[in-house]
């Protein structure tokens, strides 16, 4: 069966508990276990192949162009981890059924747990490193959900957040590292990367890659100095700790080091960073574990210490050390999971985890006590138990390295000291809890737990003994397979025996044993010594740092985003200036070789008027009416300029728009403050003038530089094909309705959206009409001038006729939908001005919103019509016809499109102006209606 089902089954399994949790906890637990059990079965079925050294693969295309594929592979290392994840996971499912109380939502718990299981399987089975990283992040997120499962507890929330922050940040570093590796190797497939070890190690980016990948591994595996999140993650329910913090989550970092061992290991840098970090973590964890009064706290620090041990082994760069590391991964997972579960049982049955209260439990729960003692002895490294074997290998390896030169003797000495503390805290776990007098103030009288709650512990303790006594029978196959995939195929000679004769490692073990007992016996002195130190709670330090970071970010945000529009615009303008002026500095001469036009009086007069108008607008910008008049002068000169420089269409459009804009602004003046205060400081004005002149100068220079150089245009195509392809002489109009019709469709849509937005803005506006101007004079109540009214009424049909003419001729002469629409709008607006809204409303019963919609629809349907003839969207058609009396004429489908433009322009313009105009009359919508 295909490899993909191993992670896929649990993924489907996340839904199972949500469906079955209503049918009681037994059925729920059973149904949840089915799919992981199927995955385990699949894994075991693959065992013969994998143990023979084969690698199974599954590959499916996804986004291959980005190097992203769904890709899985299973070698010995993946197989080992799959067994741990699924095997211990199944035991945890059984254990959690008894551990969680009836108030806890067991369905939600199982769903998170199975999601986490999927994520772990994804990490160990991925063949694509980006996919691996995705699952890596999924473990961070699902562990966040699991740690904060009791979300009503503040410490659970804080612990979860801390774990997520630390491991998530490490995950980002890992992503950067993996991307770099993928870039160097040219592939994100693990198969390719594992064979490119030399390439990566010899590249100059190797230190960066190593640091980034190790950051990911160290944060996940709680290595010094990132160890602080793990003790706080103990706020999680104990099944979570037993699963995540013994066999899976924290082992993901270790797995990463093992996975990339063939690629990254073997250099001095690797040795220095990895082994020294491991050594520091080993010692720190072992020492701190002794002083924790919380049972789970002790186990957490012991986990940190053992993870440090494994890291140290990987760091030593010898093949045997790597084998020992893999072996200790197995052993630690087994005894630590059982110890966590035993601690959970004690907590569950006695109501406390405080070792100062828990004493003498041997009398109350002998069976559990025996199991816990065996597991703890394995943790201490007592012979005949599995912990002894890997610890012995570890001691042997510490003796066998020389990278630190003449200081190399320190490593075995420090390792032995770590062993001493390891024995001492294991001793405390056994003696303090199960013996040492009577229990003090326990909330409950301790008793044995339910039968099946002990079963998972029994299974694991049995494995401790089995591996410890018959190592070569129990683990040699899987150890060899896993180690050989860590070492990329080359396995060293080693022997799994309990007795290697009297040698140095055995003496170190004995020293650790005796020393540990002495330390434990004299623990009161040590406790007193340790009590002198201020208790550093990582939680508070972490929260303080986070708070500081948030404050800094807020300050920074306030600094850039202070809510001042003027500030934003100044920043934007300065940036624009920098980007525009930069390239100009490289331009040698401003003036190009093109032959220029001669200056004449007409142009000079126009330019003078334009400049005067613009400057006057600025000078009188606080006298609104004057500013508006000056602005309209500028607009008119612009229109004339268009006409003068051979752009009749633009001139017509500009003229019509100018009229509409000025009417709009005049209407707006009615509601805006009559007088603008003089509020800018002289310094501000000087600064703004400087910025404005600089940008103006740069823009003018660029414009001049462009105009004095010969054009490089694509317009010849349009000029050549306008008549033959579009059926029109007016190339500008043909471009609008034919060549670039799709752009025009987009633009009229924008126009329509703007008009509708304005309609909504006006509809809910609460404005009060000023009753007088700024000098206190009331508005005139006179009727509208009769002459204007009469003339405009008789002008309306003529204006409509003109706009129809301009519309129809648009294809061949200046004109078209845009201009005709604007002319029609101006004609209608004139009726409003001359006769008032009350008079116009009953006479023109057009809904302008519908006009917009209709216009866009006509244009779009014209475009879609070409589909009927199996042509692309907006293909136009034209032909020539002959009618008696009328003569030859041309019909083009583009004119229908232009009709859409025409209608939309009328709709949008009128909707804006008529609605705004309505506000000034009794017809306005009163605020109460909204």
């Amino acid at each position: 069966m295909s490899l993909i089902w191993i992670p896929l089954f649990p993924l489907l399994g996340t839904l199972v508990p949500l469906l079955t949790s209503r049918f009681g906890r037994n059925l729920c637990a059973f149904s949840v276990a089915v799919l992981p059990a199927a995955s385990l079965l699949l894994t075991l079925l693959a065992a013969p192949d994998v143990l023979n050294g084969e690698t199974l693969r599954y590959h499916a295309q996804w986004i291959s162009s980005l190097g992203l594929d769904i890709s899985f592979r299973m070698d010995g290392l993946s197989f080992l981890f799959c067994c741990l994840i699924l095997g211990i996971g199944l035991l945890i499912i059984l254990y959690a059924r008894y551990y969680l109380s009836s108030q806890d939502s067991i369905g939600r718990f199982y769903a998170y747990l199975i999601l986490f299981m999927t994520a772990m399987l994804g990490i160990v089975l991925s063949n694509n490193v980006i996919q691996l990283w995705m699952f890596w992040e999924l473990t961070s997120i699902s562990s966040f959900l699991l740690i904060s499962f009791w979300s009503h507890k503040s410490e659970a929330r804080k612990g979860a957040r801390m774990a997520l922050t630390v491991t998530g940040a490490g995950g980002l570093a890992l992503l950067a590292g993996l991307l770099l590796i993928g870039h160097l190797v040219g592939s994100y497939q693990l198969d390719d990367i594992l064979n490119s070890g030399d390439l990566i190690r010899e590249h100059q980016a190797y230190p960066v890659i190593l640091l980034l990948v190790l950051l990911g591994a160290f944060t996940k595996s709680a290595q010094f100095p990132f160890q602080f999140w793990l003790p706080h993650a103990m706020a999680a329910p104990t099944p979570v700790s037993a699963y995540l913090h013994s066999a899976t989550m924290v082992k993901a970092g270790i797995f990463l080091m093992a996975r990339f061992y063939p690629v990254l290991a073997g250099t001095e840098l690797w040795f220095l960073i990895v082994s020294m970090t491991g050594l520091a973590t080993l010692l720190f964890g072992a020492y701190m574990a002794l002083f924790k009064h919380d049972l789970k706290g002790l186990l957490a620090f012991s986990t940190i210490s053992h993870l440090g041990l494994i890291t140290l082994l990987f760091g030593m760069n010898t093949k045997l050390a790597a084998v020992a590391a893999v072996f200790h991964i197995i052993n630690h997972a087994i005894f630590k999971a059982s110890l966590f579960m035993a601690a959970g049982i004690i907590d569950h049955e006695s109501g406390s985890r405080d070792m100062r209260k828990l004493n003498g439990l041997w009398k109350y729960m002998p069976h559990t006590a025996l199991l816990a003692m065996v597991a703890a002895a394995s943790m201490a490294g007592v012979p005949l138990l599995n912990g002894f074997l890997s610890k012995e290998m570890f001691f042997a390896e510490t003796l066998d390295q020389d990278t630190l030169g003449s200081l190399s003797w320190m490593i075995p000495v420090l390792a032995t000291i770590g062993g001493v503390f390891s024995v001492a805290y294991s001793m405390r776990f056994i003696h303090d809890v199960f013996f040492n007098g009577e229990p003090i103030d326990l909330p409950k009288t301790p008793k044995e737990p339910p039968r099946y709650m002990k079963l998972p512990v029994e299974v694991l303790v049995f494995l401790c003994l089995l591996v410890g006594i018959f190592p070569s029978f129990a683990v040699s196959g899987i150890l060899a397979a896993a180690s050989s995939s860590v070492l990329n195929g080359s396995l060293p000679e080693y022997s799994l025996a309990i007795w290697h004769g009297l040698n140095l490692p055995l003496i170190m073990s004995s020293l650790a044993m005796v020393g540990g007992l002495i330390v434990y016996y004299n623990r009161r002195h040590l406790f007193q010594f340790q009590a002198q130190f201020e208790d550093q709670d990582a939680k508070y330090i972490f929260e303080r740092w986070i708070q500081k970071l948030v404050n800094r970010c807020e300050q920074f945000m306030e600094w850039i985003d202070n809510g001042s529009l003027q500030r934003y615009i100044v920043t934007m303008m300065i940036m624009a200036l920098i980007f525009m002026a930069g390239p100009l500095l490289d331009l040698k001469t401003t003036e190009g070789p093109r032959v220029l036009l001669d200056l004449n009086g007409v142009v000079l007069t126009g330019a003078l008027l334009l400049c005067v108008g613009a400057v006057a607008t600025v000078i009188w910008h606080r006298e609104r009416l004057v500013a508006l008049l000056m602005l309209s002068v500028v607009g008119l000169i612009v229109a004339i300029a268009f006409a003068y420089f051979s752009a009749p269409d633009l001139a017509l459009t500009q003229l019509a728009v100018e009229i509409v804009t000025i009417i709009l602004l005049l209407l707006a003046l009615f509601f805006l403050p009559q007088k603008l205060p003089k509020e800018s400081s002289p310094r501000r004005i000087t600064r703004d003038i400087a910025i404005a002149l600089l940008i103006g100068g740069v823009v003018g220079t660029i414009n001049f530089a462009i105009m004095t150089r010969a054009p490089d245009t694509i317009s010849d195509y349009y000029l050549e094909n306008s008549k033959t392809g579009g059926g029109g002489d007016n190339v500008v109009n043909v471009i609008l309705v034919d060549f670039r019709g799709f752009d025009t469709l987009g633009e009229i849509t924008v126009l329509g959206i703007a008009a509708l937005g304005i309609f909504k803005l006006i509809a809910a506006m609460r404005l009060y009409m000023p009753s007088s101007d700024e000098r206190g004079r009331t508005w005139s109540t006179d009727q509208r001038p009769l002459i204007l009214s009469v003339i405009s009424q008789s002008l309306l049909p003529l204006a409509i006729l003109v706009s129809a003419y301009i519309f129809l001729r648009g294809h061949n002469s200046p004109g078209g939908g845009f201009i005709a629409g604007l002319i029609t709008s101006v004609a209608i607006i004139q009726q409003y001005i001359a006769n008032g809204v009350d008079w116009v409303k009953p006479r023109i019963s057009l809904s302008y919103q519908w006009l917009i919609a209709g216009g866009i629809l006509v244009a779009a349907l014209t475009g879609a019509g070409s589909w009927l003839f199996e042509r692309p969207f907006l293909t136009s058609w034209f032909d020539h016809f002959h009618l008696p009396w009328v003569g030859d004429f041309e019909l083009a489908s583009a004119i229908l499109f232009d009709l859409g433009v025409y209608l939309t322009v009328i709709g949008a313009t009128m909707s804006i102006l008529a609605n705004l105009g309505q506000l000034t009359t009794s017809e306005r919508i009163s605020p109460e209606q909204h």
Binding site: L565, L596, L597, L599, L610, A614, V615, T617, V618, A627, V634, F642, F645, S646, A647, L650, T653, T661, L664, L665, A668, F671, L672, P673, L676, P677, E679, S680, D688, I691, A692, I695, G696, G697, V699, N703, M707, T708, P711, T713, I714, L719, S722, D729, N730, V731, V732, I735, L736, E747, V750, L751, A755, I758, L761, I762, M765, P814, F818, L822
Partner: protein
């Protein structure tokens, strides 16, 4: 002639930018209008200045570049829609916030200065 044209475009830009940097909505609207004239003229001139050669096919065969014209034509209309939107937004802002400052509130320092001068908004 091109130099004069470029000078006008530069001046319009400068005037527009100066006004958009003012603190009251109406000035900003006027500034944006000036700026859009400048931008339209600038874009138009990328087809180079030519006299009496409109892009309407005829016997002469001398035409100006029609593409910038088509672009500017729609830009004028859209520019109108955007100006209208900003104007209405300014009115709505004044209606809802009670002042016409671009930030929606008059900065504390300035309003103290205005009180001193006897300005009432």
């Amino acid at each position: 002639m091109e130099a004069v044209y470029a000078f006008c475009v530069g001046l319009l830009t400068a005037c527009g930018i100066f006004l958009t940097l003012r603190a009251r909505t109406f000035s900003v609207v006027i500034g944006i209008t000036l700026l859009s004239y400048a931008v339209n003229l600038f874009l138009f001139s990328s087809g180079r200045l030519k006299l009496e050669s409109a892009a309407v096919l005829n016997e002469s065969g001398v035409y100006t570049d029609p593409l910038p014209q088509a672009l500017v034509l729609t830009a004028i209309v859209i520019g109108f829609a955007m100006t209208a939107f900003v104007v209405i937004l300014a009115m709505r802002g004044r209606a809802d916030l009670g002042n016409d400052h671009v930030d929606g509130r008059i900065p504390a320092k300035e309003s103290a200065m205005q009180r001193h001068r006897g300005y009432k908004s």
